[in-house]
Amino acid sequence: MPLLSTLIAGASVLVIGDSHLSKPDYLIKSLHDELSRQGALVHSLSACGAVPSDWLGSVKMVCGAERIGNGPVTLVLQNASTRPVKPLIAADKAKLVVVVMGDTIANYKKEFAKAWAWQQVTSLSKEIVSSGATCIWVGPPWGSEGGQYGKTYARVQQLSNFLAANVAPCIYIDSLKLGQPGGWITVDGQHLNPAGYQAWGSAIAKAIAELPAPNKP
């Protein structure tokens, strides 16, 4: 069975996400580098705190980052914003879109907002898939409990289960299966240290490469 790695080689890949891609030693380095090593032409774009539906338009955020191909990471501060994903896909002629999101819809300190999360996830997954690109959605890692975001293992597991059931037709990559609770050290309960992002990014890229290639005409 052909693997997705055969699709990635030489293809344009768009990676969008939240603050997990917003600093030079975050996934915008590790995941971006690993996908590039697989032969992809990678464009990574992040917006701190963005929720999925923010990527249907341009919504201002407090920070973000961008990286194109083998170029450096550009940090964006006051003018950070999401960009509408469908024109991005068209401009890049992206064959594959990787979404790295989940922590921003988990409502860690409050009750899980199920209907809102469903609306968030389906609005973005439908938008991406309607472009014709293959979509992969990467869920959040375990992180560590407590911290300023109030992350708990129970909630991130609940969120990951929700994403697994609701991101289709995007393919779901469960980051909780790529690591162990507390296994990757965090700086604030949610964001990993550089070693953690390196491990997570490598694991995501490996999981992507081992997916079956989609049956597309």
Binding site: C48, L56, V62, Q78, N107, W116, A168, P169, H191
Partner: protein, 245 residues
């Protein structure tokens, strides 16, 4: 009618309130990302809304067309027999939603309801003379699943007590004993089926082809009163439970 024009219905996507507060908080506290990247200096931002999203839609159960409007708005949205349902609009939970039904030849009828967090409310314009009568049915779904079809039966007809739907051509009941003024929802695999109505356990001469039901989509079948030349006393129609962007 785009969601953005329904200002009178207090449309505000849950979570949008967070955005202005977030920017202000960051600006006031000086929590913007530093140019020299440091993993420890990360701005705090919320990970979800203060309460779950709430939704409302409007359905026309009359034989002819009618319109609805938001309070204070000049525009009206048509609900025809061919397109009897609006999409679900996002509204502020626990905030009064106001509007009006307009049916030619009938006095306009005010709409007013409050929707709870996580609730999907359906306001149905009922058949009958005089000012448009309404029924409001509410659900708080727990079955979000992009791999399954979600199908509901909304029984709007008091004459069809304990409504049910059988799958035509199979001895399978999709729904049973749905009381008038209530609804039931279930998941099924993607399928193309036709259904037959039952009222109080009796098979009625009313069928409906549901078409190819798609995974990840949500639908509602409505049982409404009807006067048909064939003698059928109920009518069925199906809506796609889409959410307005």
């Amino acid at each position: 009618m785009p969601a953005s024009t329904l200002a009178g219905l207090a449309l505000l996507r849950s979570g949008e309130c967070q955005r202005p507060r977030l920017i202000l908080l960051a600006a006031l506290a000086g929590l913007l990302c530093p140019v020299a990247a440091s993993s420890a200096e990360i701005p705090l931002y919320p990970t979800g809304p203060s309460q779950d999203a709430a939704f409302v839609r409007f359905v026309n159960a009359q034989a002819g067309g009618l319109e609805f409007s938001a309070a204070g708005a000049n525009t009206r949205t048509k609900l025809s027999p061919e397109q009897p349902s609006s999409p679900f609009y996002t509204v502020d939970a626990n905030t009064r939603v106001k509007g009006r039904f307009h049916a030619g030849g009938q006095p306009a009828s005010d709409i007013g309801l409050t929707v709870k967090p996580g609730e999907f409310a359906t306001v149905v314009a009922l058949p009958g003379a005089g000012a448009v009568k309404q029924a409001i049915l509410r659900e708080q779904p727990d079955d979000f699943n992009a791999l399954k079809v979600s199908l509901a039966l909304y029984n709007i007809d008091p004459q069809c007590g304990n409504a049910g739907l059988n799958v035509v051509g199979r001895s399978a009941a999709l729904f049973e004993a749905v009381a008038a003024g209530s609804l039931q929802r279930r998941a099924l695999n993607p399928v193309s089926i036709s259904v037959q109505l039952l009222c109080n356990g009796k098979v009625m001469p009313t069928t409906l082809a549901l078409g190819a039901l798609q995974a990840g989509q949500r639908y509602s079948v409505f049982v409404v009163p009807a006067a048909s030349p064939t003698g059928a006393t109920q009518r069925l129609f199906i809506t796609s439970d889409s959410v307005a962007r």
